[in-house]
Symmetry: C3
Subunit: 151 residues, 3 copies
């Protein structure tokens, strides 16, 4: 049982440092998806807004490759913000340092792998399913732990 | 007026405990939407990625029932992360314990009801509008309170 | 170097106050996108759900103006939640007060401008690109700063 919140939210606590570190990496990773979409749009000259298409003198259209990157991005939005919240709550349950750090790191790696096999190199299933499932289970585990602790 | 932040962010403060508890529930609720989408996809054999369709030997397609669950999920992404932030700011305004806990709980219940009437049992309007509006007003109220307090 | 987290997360710290203030404004700004979508839907009688269209005795359909507002909203979801996380981490790196407050404010203004030129008044590029890029660079800067500090 954590007696004071300062035992958790403090800059010497390796769990808190790991949480902030992984969160920053995940922010940059999510941002990279926008970049990746942009690259695909320019490369394939595919724009959804008339004012964007006008710059390149083409018509607005939809492209399967661009949509694929956008789905990978949306999947990040579905999974990463809730990780931030679940991870914060989980820290307050006084978890073992090694376990907590491992969960944060595996989640981060799993999200990179998810985007890699989804939007960069198309790998057949279950590659994407496994990467997604790993992150999903970690967030779920942390949220359930927090729920039971604060109930 | 809250003199020290530790009067708010502390594990004995019922508002903070309620916030962490409701947040965990909302994380799990948002995760359930991904699960619900998956169930619909398998049941109806509807996949948007060729590599997913290939596993079930079918062609990629779009289905109204799957899209409905995905819209409900997207609506969670539009409403739940901003609740986390508005709720955190609101706690710092030193609100009455009963009011704060009531708002957190009603928001959580409203989001469950929203998904229920949107994606599980199709209920005619205004059911979904009311559920959505309840959550929307609560987030708005908390954000305005925080804004006025910190201005 | 911040010695104690309470030097950062405290209600007298202008950076923390600015962060909470800008966050509340950004929550309300994101909420306004839902409102804007609603206005477009009612004005143009465009509804995607059969139960919504039924209320107005019309058929479900897609409309370019509604989709435009929805893309602006989605762009908020792609950029604003990660700002909350990057901004929080950045505060912990003990940044200069003026710089931090300026970044928070410029990000907030840039997001308003983004929605304005995207979904309210259609302004040719590079208006939207610049508004989006400003916010993107600020989030990226803060996330990289946090990453380097906690590495």
């Amino acid at each position: 049982m954590v007696n004071s919140i300062l035992e958790v939210i403090n800059l010497e606590n390796p769990i808190f440092r790991g949480y902030v570190l992984c969160s920053s990496v995940l922010v940059l990773k999510t941002m990279a998806m926008a970049h990746l979409t942009g690259i695909q749009r320019f490369k394939r000259q595919v724009f959804v807004n008339p004012e964007d298409a006008a710059v390149f003198k083409c018509k607005p259209k939809i492209d399967a490759n661009v949509e694929r990157v956008r789905r990978a991005h949306l999947n990040d939005l579905e999974n990463i913000p809730i990780f931030f919240v679940a991870g914060f709550g989980y820290m307050l349950t006084n978890p073992p340092v090694r376990t907590a750090l491992m969960l944060f790191k595996i989640f981060t790696i799993a999200r990179f792998l998810h985007s890699l096999v989804y939007a960069v190199v198309k790998v057949p299933q279950p590659a994407r399913g496994l990467a997604w499932g790993t992150g999903y289970c970690i967030t779920g585990f942390m949220a359930v732990k927090t729920l039971l602790h604060f109930l």
